[in-house]
Amino acid sequence: MTGLSEEDWTAILLSLKVASVATLASLPVGLALAYILARFRFPGRTLLDGLIHLPLVMPPVVTGYLLLLSFGRKGPIGAFLDECCGLVFSFRWTGAALAAAVMGLPLMVRAIRLTLESQDRRLEQAAGTLGARPLFVFATVTLPLALPGILAGSILSFAKALGEFGATITFVSNIPGETQTIPAAIYTFTQVPGGDANALRLTAVSIVISLFALIASEILARRLNRQVASFS
């Protein structure tokens, strides 16, 4: 009926998992980075900002290669994480999620940073006068007020994760059931003469998933929108 093979379904489910995990896992990191960039001035700030933008600026293949160098089994970070926490990225779906998270991070950070920078900071200060410690202020004022940005950043990151290909395949290769996400499967189809129809079918699946995510985010956003003032 759907014209989707079992392998296609595997890729779809994997992509969903990878995109969700990538988005969720990069949220705290993105939030922290956005907060630091929005609220503090320190030497090296622009460098940090630049670093976050790197995955956007570099060709994805290069990003993937750098991930391989650092998070691979023999890479310094990869080796460390393996040893200390048994966290292995190479050739695992976790690596695909890492690649997607890294590629989506600049989008996530920017969106959150934008809402943080446009906040009326006097509200945080008002919370302070009521006795709230900075962390509590962050959790009860800063964070909720940044929700539109967090939502937007998550959607961007999720969409990017659905589409990410170059960095993922370079970093963790294209192993069906483990690291073969939808884009990797699509790529394979496009490389075979006559594979276009299959590629388009999978692309359509991606699009449908992202539309669902968008609709969900719109519903959430509409709830949040109440906090913006308007007469009518």
Binding site: V61, K74, T190, V192
Partner: protein, 231 residues
């Protein structure tokens, strides 16, 4: 006008050198555009301003031939390549590749890096060879497929994958890997780089350049890079 050459990316080093020599000898220039064979073929289909197409495998040359996009009389098979098994340089691994060879044992549960077996030419050849030698089933689950053969090579060089199947040309230039074995010529379809002039080309020098590709000077450059010359 320079001759617009659309060539598989793996030919870059060799072809750039040939172009230079040609320029010195004939005073004519080429403009070389490198990308995946698949992309180039589809672009030619969409009217890309190419005069010459050099594909990394037969499939995509056949694709454009079927659509009558090349001058069939100019098509020829230019180069060949060998398929080799590589391992990290310090592993000292050697394996005679034949039917019944213990490839799985050599992998020792590690990964076998290859080009995408459906998409990337080197991957397709690797799969054919493994099937022919009856090794496919034993390593199928251990494959790590890459977008291109250079990425597969990098996986071996970085120690991520234990072994890899790549072209001899790539293996030769990567210092971190050593050739552990060579696939028998007959274990896979001939690895060929077909070349042809595009139908829509109006550049009179296109055919001359194609001819020049078979000149001794050019062949010398190709062999120096590890390619084989097909008769």
């Amino acid at each position: 006008d320079p001759v617009n050459v659309f060539a598989a990316a793996s030919l870059k080093n060799a072809l750039d050198a040939v172009s230079e020599v040609w320029k010195a000898e004939a005073g004519k220039e080429t403009k070389n555009t490198y990308a995946a064979s698949s992309a180039l073929a589809k672009q030619i289909e969409q009217g890309a301003p190419a005069d010459v197409f050099i594909s990394a495998d037969l499939d995509w040359m056949d694709y454009v031939a079927e659509k009558k996009l090349i001058k069939s009389d100019t098509r020829k098979t230019l180069l060949g390549n060998q398929l080799v098994l590589v391992a990290a340089k310090d592993s000292g691994l050697k394996l005679e590749i034949k039917e019944g060879a213990d490839l799985a044992g050599a992998l020792a549960r590690g990964k076998l890096a290859v080009g995408d077996v459906k998409a990337v030419p080197a991957g397709k050849y690797a799969k054919a060879a493994l099937e022919k030698l009856g090794l496919w089933a034993s390593v199928e689950k251990s494959l790590a497929m890459s977008e291109n053969v250079r990425a597969a090579l990098a996986l071996v060089a970085r120690g991520e994958a234990k072994l890899g199947i790549v072209y001899a040309t790539d293996a030769k230039a990567e210092k971190e890997v050593a050739v552990a074995g060579v696939f028998p010529e007959d274990s896979h379809p001939p690895i060929v780089y077909p070349v042809a002039v595009i139908v829509s080309s109006k550049n009179a020098d296109a055919e001359a350049f194609v001819t020049y590709l078979s000149s001794p000077k050019a062949q010398e450059i190709f062999t120096a890079q590890g390619f084989t010359i097909l008769k």
